[in-house]
Amino acid sequence: MTPALRRRLLLLAPFGIVAAGGAAFYGMLQGLQTGEFNPRGVPSVLIGRPAPAFDLPEVPGAEVPLFRHADIAPPGRPVIVNFWASWCVPCVVEHPQLMALSREGVPVFGIAYKDRPEDSRGFLRRHGNPFARLARDEPGRAAIDWGVYGVPETYLLDAQGIIRWRFAGAVTPEILAREIRPLLRRYAS
């Protein structure tokens, strides 16, 4: 490489960096629109690990059996664990999806996060109760063990009780079709 050529390449370096950076930023913008790139999201480190142990009280008067750790250690079939609260607006948005899953016979286990029992009961009475098992985590400590940082958050566990998927935010019909159902099928065997 002649010195002149080397100099040319060196002088082109700033342009090259800008071009590469621009391409990456463009990719990020596209990713923002499709939802693949989420700078505000916190990925779960529990994927591939067994669900954390917990010992939570029931929601009194909810007429649903208590959700115990034994129920998912192991569950014997894929299950959904959902952290929710009556004061959480996106939880209302995702509720029909949870109801749909429960109607199809998929076990949906719920943990009410920082919610007073009467408020939780009211919510379920108003919107329906998709939960096969229910517990409440008023201090929010068990949620921290699961790596929860807001509600709603939904986890999918396989038949052995290993966490396979986690979604932070309201489960939309698209997410139900595109992600949850395929995963339920995949881990069914």
Binding site: G140, I144, D145
Partner: protein, 153 residues
């Protein structure tokens, strides 16, 4: 190393969210430890604040959790590992030093070295190249000769 680094934090000013005094640990040394650790932990629902700086509910929960672990006898590293176990590296405001972040951590040294190297190379090339003007072409030489003859007259 961690101690010195944490001391550096003091230079930026102590930060404490408007907490409840009841949240604080009774032992001032432990409370100081809790604050130092808290300043290293990111409030996950805020943008770029530590749990000590934030008023968010989750930040308060995490502050209480840190203090609980300290009272239970965990070392600083164990408290941080406890949270890292649940939230991953994202919760650390100080990125871990590993293969993927090595370039970041070494960047001050690398950039400085790169700059010095570039300057040295440029100087060397500058000294090697002739500093005088380019030689004249035959036409220009002829023109110069004609001008000089003109000037002498």
């Amino acid at each position: 190393m961690i101690r010195a680094a944490l001391v550096l934090l003091l230079l930026s000013g102590p930060a404490l969210a408007i907490g409840n005094p009841a949240d604080m640990l009774p032992d001032p040394a432990q409370e100081a430890r809790a604050r130092e650790i808290g300043r290293e932990l990111r409030c996950l629902v805020c943008q770029n604040e530590s749990i000590e700086d934030s008023n968010a509910d989750l930040a308060r929960d995490l502050r209480l959790l840190v203090r609980e672990r300290i009272r239970a006898g965990d070392s600083d590293a164990q408290v941080v590992a406890f949270l890292r176990d649940r939230y991953g590296d994202f919760v650390l405001l100080r990125p871990p030093f590993n293969a993927s972040t090595a370039a970041l951590w070494l960047s001050p040294a690398l950039v400085l070295a790169g700059g010095i190297l570039t300057m040295w190379l440029v100087r060397r090339r500058g000294h090697a190249a002739p500093a005088g003007p380019a030689p004249l072409s035959p036409e220009e030489q002829a023109r110069l000769a004609a001008l000089e003859a003109e000037a002498r007259r």
